[in-house]
């Protein structure tokens, strides 16, 4: 009996608790933490939670009698392999079906068990932010494309003054305009139109810029896209281009994200310079 209990406990630990580092230790990027679903098949979902290089995945699905059932994979790690040209780095781990004490009764370790039923694989579909999901349960293989579930907006947390920077890269052949380079100390405020935010900063003595961005939530991340107008304060009339900020991580104390700027070139085409933006709230 003692050996059986130890074996069950070991399985539970493997399934629900302690993690082993994978052979290829790289976190999934962007961080997939959040809820994921298939808009074509509403009703089921997948929870992904990443810490370090390990993802904890829970599948909320239905059994053959259409009743709710869940599977768990607690050690989903980087395989170091890319699926194909369109689907990126694959993260994989064993999938378990567990049993345990009923929710309404005290804990009963004797009822705990974790049975491996297959594997789960996830990978970002390029160039989207969707995830390709493949899992198997006792020989039944399921493949889906899921997208981040979005129901709210973190935009309200963005308002405030920040110590930080707009750090935009430049090369000899692809330059961001001077007002966008090495900006610190900026302010984010509600824009005049619903769903818009203004990012304002000074770019010289009595000279400033303002980005009027449209905010969109996508899962746990935000994006902000809009034109940047610069000039002598308060006449910000020169449009220096459009900034796009992606993968915005927003907390009460600050935010950060990636940006890109399509820069016009002398030959009439454009190039794109990238960088980061963010700061800590004052």
């Amino acid at each position: 009996m003692g050996a059986r209990l130890r074996a069950i406990r070991a399985a539970i630990v493997t399934a629900l608790g302690l993690m082993m580092a994978g052979a290829h230790a790289a976190p999934m990027t962007p961080d997939p933490t959040g809820m994921w679903y298939d808009p074509a098949q509403p009703g089921w979902g997948m929870s992904l939670t990443q810490q370090g290089e390990t993802i904890f995945a829970v599948l909320f699905v239905y059994d053959a009698n259409h009743n709710p059932q869940w599977f768990v994979a607690s050690n989903v790690v980087d395989t170091g392999q890319v699926m194909n040209m369109l689907v990126g780095e694959v993260y994989s781990g064993p999938l378990y079906r567990t049993t345990g004490p009923a929710y309404a009764v005290p804990s009963d370790p004797a009822t705990l068990s974790a049975t491996p039923v297959g594997t789960i694989q996830i990978a970002y579909v390029q160039p989207t932010n969707n995830i390709s999901l493949a899992y198997s349960v006792n020989g039944t293989t399921v493949t889906k494309t899921v997208q981040a579930q979005t129901w709210g907006s973190n935009a309200a947390q963005l308002a405030g003054s920040f110590n930080g920077a707009i750090l935009i890269g430049s090369t000899m052949s692809c330059q961001a305009p001077a007002p966008l380079q090495q900006v610190s100390n900026f302010t984010l405020s509600q824009g005049a139109a619903p769903g818009t935010l203004n990012v304002t900063w000074g770019s010289g003595i009595d000279v400033g810029c303002m980005m009027t961005g449209t905010y969109a939530q996508q899962g746990q991340f935000g994006t902000l896209t809009g034109p940047v107008m610069c000039g002598p304060i308060p006449n910000l009339i020169a449009n220096v281009g459009t900034l796009t900020i992606t993968q915005m991580t927003i907390a009460p104390t600050g935010f950060s994200g990636y940006l890109n700027y399509p820069s016009p070139m002398a030959n009439g085409s454009s190039c794109t310079v990238g960088g980061t933006i963010g700061g800590v709230k004052v």
Partner: protein
Amino acid sequence: MSPDPTGMWYDPSHPGWGMSVTQQGETMFVALFVYDGSHQPLWFVASPVLDAGRAWQPSDGFSGNPGELYSGTLYQTTGMYFGDEPLPPAMKANAVGMLAMAYTADNPRALSVRYNVGTTAVLKTVQAQTWMPNLAALAGNYTGGVSIHPCACFPEMCDSPISSHTALQLTVTAGSSPSTVQIAWNPGSSTGACRYTATYVQDGQLGALKGSVACDGNSTALPLTVSNLAVSASGFSGVANLPGFCPGSIGGVRVIQ
């Protein structure tokens, strides 16, 4: 809900089940993955879970728990077999009860959770499930700030000795032991370069730092803790707590070479 409860939660005294919480704006999505009376896996979902506009009261379950209450209707759903089927039924959501939760008074990172399925009520205290630190993602160079000042003072008039009202360059490096980290910056005032040496602890999706900060020209090291530390690939930020000052902030955006 603050701190952001997004992540996995569990009851160490009742292993095997869990709760997934995901917050966007002011709305949470909560999934309980538990077991039925036959010990088979079963899940419920509560969406939306919102601020109830009142604190947790003794009648909600635990006593002495003043945390703000968040609540929502709990549903049990039925739907299409995961293995697909020719004529899948439409998903149905049946309201079975309510779910309420609040941070506990004695542990700001533990949640009191009460839910009922019909007449069966369940009361638990859960903690954030933690399996790996985000410490490795923290190392790098940042442009950001350290903003700490007395409670009754406008920031630009009276920064703390270690902070600045203008942007700072911060460098985060690994410490002398695997769980320690050093953050260096220069406030640019009468105080010279500051070095914060701290121990990193992961708590669910957030981190925490506890250590001391020493600045050139000041022989006294100051105790500094950082809580609710959110670490991402592009930056970090957290609440900075310096004794004698109001809670402030520390963090920045990553400088990518």
